[in-house]
Symmetry: C2
Subunit: 198 residues, 2 copies
DNA sequence: CGGTCGTTTCAAAAACGAGTGAAATTGGTC
DNA sequence: GACCAATTTCACTCGTTTTTGAAACGACCG
């Protein structure tokens, strides 16, 4: 076995390191449950990130005591979401998994995913919550009734929500950039905002 | 009963309005489940927001078909988080609940709550995930060993996470301001960021 | 090809969290 | 201070989501 491709046993017998990693893995798993991410998914990602090297599925399974099924499904999802890379090594049938090490890229990846999966559809659904003046009013236009006050107020509230969500969406868009995230620029922008004078 | 204090029956017999409200309530409840907020909590808040008037607990219970217990617990939490105001009316033992109508204030309220409940403790916990050079190294200082490479790398990764979370925390701090949120300013800031040149 | 190793799928179990409703409590009233 | 209405609490139920583990699948190797 080549020296530069050490196994888990060879590299990770350092109790202080292991225990520090475990603290982060537990913490991250706990955070996950508060943010709608399955605990094992967060834990697996935390392990790959903090160890900063490639793992085979079996190493992950053993280290975190998760089932084969969970590891497989979770890794697939993490790869789909571009949080983890899968690599095939010649001469080894086992795939190796590793996590993006740039925390800013991680951040934008998550932001992008949530925007696409939640903000964009939300914006669309909100529009449907308006009381369309045409739809209902058309049938009773003959009465000469103006649109009821209550309808106008309702629509104003929806409109304000749309405006807020749309604005946040635009901020995300701006941060992500039109053709993929650019970490340095994003970081600079956020830093500027954080440090702006009170 | 005074005319200016109409009951649910008196004000809300407009099917178009009710159904539009219901659409929003369902949508918001659904969003809640994706963001770690109990469905009923999101629904109750949506109802109070979109109706834009005060409700008694019983009105909420009937309108949303939730149990007394859920209504009580949820309203308490919503009031704790300053998302909903409770008001006592003289001559009526029932409390009335209403939601903040300014969506920007809502946004800052949520931001503030999540920051306090999640970001701040997270930052604290992350620090504990470092391999403190003093703690472990002290016992084996005699060996003359420098701090292992693996420990330095580990701490660097943690440090980068702390930096990211800390920066987001600082942005939130900046947006919220030192003595409570100021909606107009916040809105202007976010608008500027959204519209900045690409 | 047949065997081996690794991955994926899926039905069932376990764990978790939300919701219920009756009982206890509170607070106001006569 | 006893009663009544409203609110809160909490042990339990119910539904969902997560996790498991075994079986099916697929790919690579000799």
């Amino acid at each position: 076995m080549p020296v530069h491709s050490p196994t888990s046993d060879a590299t990770e017998i350092d109790p202080a390191l292991i225990s520090a990693q475990d603290r982060l893995i537990s913490l991250w798993g706990e955070m996950g449950t508060h943010w709608g991410v399955p605990r094992s998914m967060a834990e697996i990602h935390a392990l790959l990130f903090i160890a900063g090297r490639e793992f085979t599925a079996d190493e992950i399974i053993e280290r975190l005591s998760v089932s084969r099924g969970t590891a497989s499904m979770t890794l697939r999802t993490l790869v789909e979401w571009s949080m983890v890379n899968r690599r095939h090594h010649r001469g080894d049938r086992r795939d190796r998994y590793s996590a993006e090490q740039d925390v800013w890229k991680l951040f934008t990846t998550v932001l992008r995913a949530r925007k696409r999966r939640e903000f964009d559809p939300l914006l669309e659904s909100l529009r449907v919550c308006r009381i369309d003046a045409d739809a209902g009013a058309a049938s009773e236009r003959g009465t000469g009734d103006a649109r009821p006050e209550s309808h106008r107020e309702h629509d104003q509230r929806i409109e304000r929500m749309i405006e807020l969500v749309g604005l946040l969406d635009a901020v995300a868009e701006r941060l992500l950039g039109p053709q993929g995230p650019r970490s340095e620029e994003l970081e600079a922008l956020v830093r500027a905002l954080a440090e702006a004078e009170q």
